[in-house]
Symmetry: D3
Subunit: 187 residues, 6 copies
């Protein structure tokens, strides 16, 4: 859609990302929930901080992957998790890739390749971004719980929310976070 | 998902519909945009009011179709229009039907049949609900424009937003609304 | 006020119902509380679902009563409960009826008769709407409590919030809801 | 209601005033509209500033009248203007006085006398508060219009919104405000 | 800045105070937190109520001090407490005084003198306002805690939040509030 | 403050950045204004996109500078521009550097050096981030204006908002944005 989009079109469209709230929080009653943009910044910050401590990570490329990893939501929205039960296997992934091809059209092809790398999730850099995507989720869940807002305890019971990507530095943070949270809950 | 859901489960889940904002407004900067629940109530009110004036409409069934017509968004979310470019043809419709089968499981089968009738859109009752679904959209757009909030003028240029379902009573309202809006814009 | 109001005037005015938050939640600190429109939709859904299970209910008329039952708030607002201590006995009821006569002027007289039936509350259909009006209240209170938002426990202690209208199907839902809520509170 | 209320009860209840939005703005689409508390502070500031310039005003008492003038809304709510068409003549005024008697019970009787003086509106101090109550309204309307939010132009056409209480200092401000606003609208 | 500001400029600028949320609540997750204007009104109400019970207080001047005490935030903002660790000793106080000189320029010099009295905090009237500034803080904290919103327990552990200004009437309220809060927390 | 802060402390504190709204928008009536986090992400995206097109830029370091450039607001807040008139020359800059030293304590020293480079603003990378900081501001202003929300036209008249850092790629975007905006305003 919209052939001949320019960089300026892209920059303006990207501002809309601020208005898309993260649906997992919305549906569990969090007031003023995080936007997709906010999630993206925190993932970036985690990738940059943790990636610097992990040998063998191309930090610069990891940061770039994090930068693009959620942009498809500009066209697809932030679908609730339950939606995956109803779309055909892989339909969302394919839709996201197609949306990204349109969104990133004004950028060099390399940008789209970064997104493909993220979707495949096989390089250490892609695995780190995927791990930090969830680490950020659980950091925010811990913050919202401390604030007393939202019905979020089920997040702690879902193993999918704790991928360490094979990196001990990430695993330790997940463990430290869970320990701190459990101590707070026990009061 | 979640076998053995009871009526109470359904009633509690339905409350979440209030937290899903209509994405078309969100992405165009409307402050505190309408929820899906609010949209649903207004469509109901239009169907009931206009259906009573149209000969040959089974008003009671039309109201029932309106009551269920957007419930799938509880599981799928309110996808932005752009998403339809990226999912396979018909994927959203299929997903919505599947979601509805789960959502309405605690109700008699008749409820799901009402939704199928809406999706097919061939009966006069289904056509009326579809027309009122858009009439409500344009009523709200007119209100938001009067309030000076949101970049919504493109809605008036899209013929898809003005289906009359073959009913003169609906067509007249669309025309009256457009006339009034154009007068306001010209100031 | 405003003689010669048309259907379009009514439809546009009705959109304002979305901006009226339910005062009981507002005054108890609920964030982003339910609008009157949202309340109305859920009451409709309850009436439709439960009415279908109750013998002797004219389901179609019950739904219509639910559709109009709170429209007077467009002109009167959603007064807090405490206000009833300060207005003369019956003043609010009379004001609501007068407001409804103006609001519904563009509709056939039958619409106003539905509202009168609701206010009198003697037919089974009116009793069912009144019971569902409170059942919806307590469903939402349970949801807000689960989200950790609002100081709402007093609602469970007020017998006025649990009218079953003489219908076992409603009474059972109230009981199931209270049981579930008490289990959650005990943790 | 609630006999034996203490000062602490009153101070805690008064915090609720922050959650009551001014209904005139709510119903005209203003985003994040002013609370009753905010209105009250600005009226106070106007009364204090303008009262100091007007000979014969007991400034200290004028400020006290402003301090209590809208507290009844804690129990009655902020009724939309249209409501006055439907309640019996004087019913709202009587209800407010009764609510104030309960609200101010923990204070010396003098507090309630200040409110009675406001309602009668005959002393210069009461007239000044009433004038500033409207001056503040129009100041905020001007601000909201500059921000492009809300459908508020009708406020400028209603003479009831421009009472000067017989004070030239107030009249001049109304005129200066209107002049500035008209210049802005002509752009 | 902006020489020749008029009273009207001041009144319009003052409306902005409503949009400045109190940063202590913002950073602890309170939803829809109190604005600076709302804080100011409640402090005024406390000063007026408690000052009337304290011998030797010039109630009229105490109310005036409360009226101006936080206006500097119009130009400086509501800085979080942590900021004081990073600015030079006294820098904020000096900045506030300078901002007030500009803000209050359209008023007689007496207004600025009231603010200087507040900053020095040596007169009984200034001490009363400072005590009520904190009493209001803790009243709102108690309300937010009852609503289940925000991570605010640390406020109760900071002795700086409980200045009584040497007035038993204030000290008693602090104690009563803490007793009531502790009873609520223990459930 | 808070010696021995760990990485986890930093990550949790960083989540607060989402709750700090950009004060320039707040004070001009923008509804739901951008958070500091959202601003930061967009600046990053601009730096990454435009930096890749500019010869001689160390893109990886430019991105890192953008990542840390606004973190001091976690402790200082987002001060309104007017505040700079009242603090001593350089006080804010010194305070930000001191806050950053505390905030970034759990990271290697290199992180703080990146911030010092940003404050000095002499390297091409620092100049690019500073230019993109303003380019993002004007992109968002353009979006808010299109949405009809906020009184933002003065931003276009302030030359400080259009620094190109000596980079033609940035200058062209500023010009294209202004051209498009002016066309929209002329309607």
């Amino acid at each position: 859609m919209k052939a001949n989009r320019t960089l300026l079109d892209l920059f303006l469209e990207a501002q809309m990302l601020d208005r898309i709230p993260r649906s997992g929080y919305v549906l569990r009653g969090v007031a003023n929930p995080e936007s997709v943009t906010e999630h993206c910044w925190h993932v970036l910050f985690l990738v940059w901080t943790l990636g610097a401590k992990i040998e063998g990570i191309d930090l610069s490329r990891a940061v770039e992957i994090a930068l693009v990893h959620d942009l498809a939501e500009l066209r697809i929205g932030d679908l609730p998790r339950t939606s995956s039960h109803y779309f055909p296997e892989g339909a969302k992934k394919t839709a996201e890739a197609a949306a990204m091809a349109d969104i990133l059209a004004p950028l060099p092809e390399r940008a789209l390749a970064l997104y493909a790398e993220y979707q495949q999730g096989t390089t250490p850099e892609a695995r780190l971004v995927k791990a930090c995507d969830k680490l950020q989720l659980m950091l925010k869940v811990a913050v919202y719980e401390r604030w007393g807002t939202g019905a979020l305890s089920e997040f702690w019971d879902n193993p999918d929310n704790f991928p360490d990507g094979g990196f001990p530095a990430v695993r330790e943070l997940f463990e430290e976070l869970r320990t701190r949270r459990n101590a707070a809950v026990r009061g």
